[in-house]
């Protein structure tokens, strides 16, 4: 177990290094930072001087070395554009992205798994087929379009919708259901961690973005659970469990579901990475003040330090999550507890 963790850890370091290399290499190709840092009236001489001071004239290797050393010490330099330490800026933005990602991940799991189980159990049921087809829409529309359509419906249309009178008795004003089209509402500052989870409008603000972001994963998870269920349900041990007269609930949600979990955990683990990445789009559409939005702006403004830090952070999350996933395997699958050798292979 311990040996396994250590091996994992070393692999993670390797991953981080490669990512660092890749992200660093990438920046060698995008724009000229100096043009970002100074206004357009700065003279050539000044630009040259600045370039020199920034060490942009050093050999690549040297620059990379500095990059690594600083990164390890959590120093990603100063944002060219905002003239602020990138680390601070990222930390400011982290909560927004993490809360959004977490909520949408939760959303996709809590809705996706039950739907998956259902569609898996009644494979040919009508409702199951409906679920399957409808869920496809989740992956048939580009995220940004879903987001914009949601805004169009729940922010604009509802805001201007006339009150609906019910039998002339009382009137319902649709605008009470109106959802905010941008930002995260009121946030509460818990020692540097700005959370939107504690206020009503903070939660309201979460609804549309997290649905937009979670829809794709939801579809993915639901279909995964379904196919896994179908597989598991025809295994001998399920047949045997039935032959032993166990109750359906025990079989479906105990034996069957538990056996589908391993792949689900894997995929979910992998998906977290892409959730955070896809947050770039969601955050842009909903003006969600998260890292993704900051990253996109950074890309457009060639704010290299931010980009570097962001990519490193994503990779970091990924390896951490992978470690957690591996831990979870141990909890779920006893077979891995004896021979660690296999675990990584299937990881």
């Amino acid at each position: 177990m311990v040996a396994f963790i250590i091996r994992r850890f070393i692999q993670s370091l390797f991953v981080m290094f490669v990512v660092a290399l890749v992200s660093f290499a990438m920046f060698q190709f995008i724009g000229d930072p100096v043009n970002q840092m100074v206004g357009i009236e700065t003279s050539l001489a000044e630009r040259a001087a600045l370039r020199e001071r920034l060490g942009l004239n050093d050999p690549i290797v040297v620059q990379f070395w500095h990059f690594i050393v600083n990164a390890v010490s959590g120093d990603f330099g100063i944002s060219y554009q905002h003239k602020r330490p990138v680390a601070d800026m990222l930390l400011e933005r982290l909560p927004a992205t993490l809360e959004l990602s977490a909520v949408s991940a939760l959303f996709s799991l809590l809705v996706g798994i039950p739907m998956g189980v259902y569609t898996g159990l009644n494979r040919d049921g009508f409702l199951a087929k409906v679920f399957l087809t409808v869920s496809l829409i989740g992956i048939s529309l580009p995220t940004f379009l879903i987001g914009i359509l949601l805004i169009f419906l729940f922010s604009v249309t509802l805001a201007n919708a006339p009150a609906i009178s019910v039998f002339g008795l009382f009137a319902i004003d649709p605008s009470v259901l109106q959802l905010p089209s941008f930002g995260r509402g009121t946030v509460v500052d818990l020692g540097g961690w700005r959370t939107g989870l504690l206020t009503a409008d903070g939660l309201k603000a979460l609804i549309m973005p997290s649905i937009t972001l979670g829809l794709f994963q939801l579809t993915l998870i639901m279909r995964l659970v379904r196919s896994e269920m179908l597989e598991v349900l025809r295994t001998d041990y399920i047949k045997f469990a039935r032959a032993r007269g166990l109750a359906n609930r025990a079989i479906n949600f105990g034996h069957a579901l538990k056996n589908t979990l391993v792949p689900v955990i894997t995929i979910t683990g992998l998906q977290i990475g892409s959730i955070i990445a896809f947050a770039i789009i969601t955050e842009t559409v909903f003006q969600w003040p998260g890292m993704g939005q900051m990253f996109l702006q950074a890309v457009q403004n060639v704010d290299i330090p931010i980009m570097a830090a962001y990519l490193m952070l994503i990779a970091f999350f990924f390896v951490v999550i992978n470690l957690i996933v591996d831990m979870l395997y141990y909890v779920v699958d006893p077979r891995l507890r004896v021979d660690t050798g296999k675990a990584t292979g299937h990881g």
Binding site: A243, R244, G245, N248
Partner: protein, 349 residues
Amino acid sequence: MAMANPLLQVRNLVVEFPTRRGTLTAVDDISFDIAEGEVLGVVGESGAGKSMTGAAVIGLLEPPGRIASGEVLLEGRRIDNLPYEKMRRIRGKEIGAIFQDPLTSLNPLYSIGRQLTETIMTHTDMTPTQARARAVELLAEVGIPAPERRVDQYPHQFSGGMRQRVVIALALCVNPRLIIADEPTTALDVSIQAQIIALLKRLCREHGTAVMLVTHDMGVIAETADRVAVMYAGRIAEIGPVREVIKNAKHPYTHGLMGSIPAIGHDADRLEQIPGSMPRLTDIPPGCAFNPRCLHAFDRCRRDRPELIAVDDGQVSCWLYDTAAGRTTAEAKAIVASRSGTAMERADG
């Protein structure tokens, strides 16, 4: 043959599989009984419908397979048409089952103990502690060393043979009256097979449990069964006391099957004695399903399907034994025993 007080009665059971290429009849109108504590062996080539019969009895036919007609009675009450919940309570409690592959029969994610206790607690009102005690007891009974320790281990920590013992323990844990053992040993090494069979035999005797032992291993049958039913293409070719069937087979097919003195591990799937192979269930020939391969087949065999005819203290479905043809059982046996079909032409004429 009427049995005093049969535990299980199967009457004209027909199991069908609707497929895209028409409906195929996996089990075609078979009837047999199993008495209290009796071990009935069911043999036949794969696809003969043995396992299907077992599954039908315990009500676990894989859809779209279904019982098209006929009845299954347990101690006189019909169980083939019970609602799912009712049947569920019978499974494991009244009728246990053991499947072919012990390696896949156990849920890899649950400890042995958990799987035992949950079964016990489903069918009895034992407390978890009692159930656990019972589980340990059972493991000991099926000959697993250090059960107190093993009970908390997981399937992958057991060898194949050990797992099959666990499976048996699981099947017996609430003393069912009948156990359907579907190829319980085929997946195991020959060396272990004997032990498992012995164990099964012992336990069933001790618990007075009847067994429907589905296998294609004549050796196992010879070892274990009191009576044996030989199935061919979804029908019973011959059924009778195991000695009878083995020592002097009446049905040409059985005769072929018994061609050589069987030893444990002998595989009935390989039938050097009989040329050709079992027909696909979709195109069973009219008349006797065996007629294309039968050395002694004559017109009627190709025309009418033979019913089970009581011969000695067994039953056989073969026109040779049709008393209406005015042939004595001895003559018929002689024909079957003879290697040439010529004798028969005469008999027919």
